[in-house]
Subunit: 339 residues, 2 copies
C-alpha cells in the first residue's frame, strides 16, 4: 500500500479538479491510498457532491490555509505553515505519505519541499524534471526552472538523477544522456557547458555528447540536461508553439462551410493526432533530488492531467526513485569525482 | 538601383537553389541588381541551363573557393580569402553591393562579416535576428546564436537594434520590446537578466518587461531579446517540435484507406494551414550591428526560401537599417547611458 498526499486546494481549479482526479486514480490503482489535504468543509462537500465517502483508501486531512498561485515562495514558506501544500509535504516528512502532489505555485512548492524534506546526500540542489513527447516515445528534460544558474557539478548531478529516474521507472539499463548546447562541435557553447561536457565524459553515464534544441523531439535520447533558465524557455516555447499551431488548425477548418465539412470528415484523424500530442499525458514534473517524492502538476491541469500526475508519483514511489538516487549517485561519478 | 551580392555556392544545395532564386527575385523587383559570386564555369553553366543570360541586372563575379558547411570559422577566415562568401562580403565593403546573402556556414559568415565590415559605432558585437510567426503576425527575436554570453549592455544594444529594424522595415513607430525570462515577477531570472531589465526600463525603448518562452508565439510583441544560447535553443526547439507535429499529422492521415480518404477531403485546408506556418516565409536571419547588410539564409533553404532572404535583404537596404542604427543608437539610450 502506497499513500500519496494531495494538495487538494492547489492549482487554478482546486478541489473541482483534484477530488475527481483522486477518485479516478483510486479506481485504477487498488493498492493506492490518497490523503486529500485542504479545507475540511470544502473537501467534504466536494466528496459528498460526488457521492464518494471517505474510507480506508481516501481520507481528508484538514489544512486551514492555501498558498496563492502568485505568492512569493519565501513568504509562503514563512507565513503559511498550515497551508495544504505545506501539510501535504509534512506528511511525506513524517512518513504518513510516501509522496506529495501539488498543482500549486512552483516556487513555493520547491522552497517548501527543500526546506521540509532536504536534498539527498551528494545533491547540491533539487531540479525539476518532466517528460516531453518525441517522434519515438518521450524524453526526460531537466532542469526546467528550479536553478537559473548551475555549476558543471550541479549539471552532472542532474544528469545522474535523470538517468536513475529513467532506469528505475522505465527499466532501461543505460539511458542515453545528452547535454543541451547550441551546436555539436566541441568549440561551441559557454564555459559551463564545456566543463559539464568533460565531467559527463568522465562519468559512468551513457553520455552521447552535445545535442541541439531540435533533438528534444527527435527521440534519440532518454535524458537531456540543461540549466533551469534554458530548460524553462524550451518548455514554454514548446507550449506556445503547440498552442499557436492548434489554433491555426482550428481556424483553417472553421473558415467556411466547405472547410467545416472537411473538418467533420477528418475529425477522427484529427482526434487521433490530438491524443498523440496530448500534453495532459505528460503532466507532472518531479522535484528530483529530495528525500521524498514530490510531483508538481501544471497549475491549469484538468482531471485527466492531474490524475496522470498522481499515477506518475505512484510509479516513482513504487520504483524507489529517491532511494536509488541516494544509493547509486556515487557509483555513477567518474574516477576522482566525489559525490 | 540596389545591388546585392549572393554567395551563390553556399548552402546545402549551392547554385541549383541560389541561381533560380536570384532569377525569381529579379523578376519581382525591377530595381534590383544581383551579383552571383562563385565559380565562373559552374554559375555560367547554371544560367545557360536556365536560358538566363548575364546582363545589366545579373552578373557573375568569379570566386575560386568555397567555405565548407562544417569548416571552423577561424580557418575559413584565415585560409579562404577567395571564397564566394568572403568575396560577396568584400563587395559590400567596397560599395559595389549594398548587401550580401549567404546560405553558408553561420559561424564563418559571422566571423567574416565582422572582420571585413566591422561593427557599427556603439555596438560591441553583432547579433543574429530573424522573424518568427505568431498568432497575430510575426516577431523579431535576437540573438539567435552569435553570442553565447552577453552583458546587460550588449542585450540593451540588441534591443535597440531590433527596435530600429522593426521600425524601419515595418514602419511601426514604437515597437514593443520584451526581455525573455522564466517568469514575469521581478524576482525571477539571473543577474544578467535583472540588470538588463533595469537598463531597458531606463532606455527610451517601448519596453514592456519580462516575457516567457510561450509569449514568442502569442503575438503581443515586436521584438524579443535574449542571449544567443537561449535564443538558439528557442529557435531549434521550435523547429524540432514543428517537424514532429507535421510528421505525426502525416502519419495519422496515412494510417489506412479511411484516414487517407479523410486526408484527401481535408487537403485544401491542410495546405492552407501549412502555408500559414511555412518556415520558408521566415527564411533569412540578419547579421545586425554591422557596417552593411548581411543576411544568412537557412543552409537547407529551397528556391522559395532563398528568394525570400534576398527580398528581405533588399527591404533592409531600402530602409537603410544599418545607417539608422548608427544614427539613432545614442538617442535610444536612457539618460546617463553612453553608446
Amino acid at each position: 500500500m502506497i499513500t500519496i498526499a494531495l494538495d487538494a486546494m492547489g492549482g487554478d481549479h482546486g478541489p473541482s479538479v483534484t477530488v475527481p482526479a483522486a477518485l479516478g486514480a483510486l479506481s485504477k490503482e487498488p493498492t493506492l491510498k490518497l490523503v486529500l489535504v485542504g479545507r475540511q468543509e470544502v473537501l467534504a462537500a466536494e466528496l459528498a457532491h460526488r457521492r464518494a465517502p471517505e474510507g480506508a483508501r481516501l481520507t481528508i486531512h484538514h489544512a486551514p490555509e492555501v498558498v496563492a498561485m502568485d505568492e512569493p515562495p519565501a513568504q509562503a514558506l514563512r507565513s503559511k505553515k498550515e497551508s495544504s501544500m505545506r501539510i501535504a509535504i509534512d506528511l511525506v516528512k513524517q512518513g504518513v505519505a510516501q509522496a506529495a502532489v501539488s498543482a500549486g505555485n512552483t516556487g513555493a512548492l520547491m522552497a517548501t519541499a527543500r526546506f521540509v524534506l532536504k536534498t539527498l546526500p551528494g545533491i547540491d540542489r533539487p531540479a525539476i524534471v518532466t517528460t516531453l513527447p518525441t517522434v519515438h516515445g518521450h524524453v526526460h528534460v531537466l532542469d526546467l526552472g528550479a536553478n537559473v544558474d548551475c555549476t558543471p557539478e550541479q549539471l552532472l548531478q542532474f544528469a545522474i538523477m535523470g538517468s536513475i529516474l529513467v532506469s528505475a521507472v522505465e527499466g532501461k539499463p543505460r539511458p542515453r544522456v545528452g547535454l543541451l548546447n547550441i551546436g555539436q562541435e566541441d568549440i561551441k557553447g559557454n564555459e559551463t557547458v564545456k566543463k559539464t561536457n568533460e565531467l559527463l565524459r568522465a562519468s559512468r553515464l551513457n553520455y552521447v555528447g552535445y545535442v541541439e534544441g531540435n533533438e528534444i523531439y527527435t527521440g534519440d535520447l532518454d535524458v537531456i540536461v540543461c540549466d533551469g533558465f534554458v530548460g524553462n524557455v524550451a518548455l514554454k516555447v514548446s507550449e506556445g508553439l503547440a498552442q499557436m499551431i492548434s489554433r491555426f488548425m482550428v481556424e483553417e477548418f472553421k473558415r467556411n462551410w466547405r472547410t467545416r465539412l472537411a473538418g467533420a470528415v477528418a475529425l477522427p484523424v484529427l482526434r487521433a493526432f490530438r491524443n498523440r500530442v496530448d500534453h495532459r499525458r505528460y503532466n507532472g514534473a518531479t522535484l528530483i533530488g529530495l528525500n521524498g517524492t514530490v510531483l508538481k502538476s501544471h497549475g491549469g491541469a484538468d482531471v485527466v492531467a492531474f490524475e496522470h500526475a498522481i499515477l506518475e508519483a505512484l510509479a516513482e514511489v513504487d520504483h524507489r526513485v529517491p532511494e536509488r538516487i541516494g544509493g547509486e549517485l556515487g557509483s555513477m561519478l567518474g574516477e576522482g569525482q566525489v559525490a
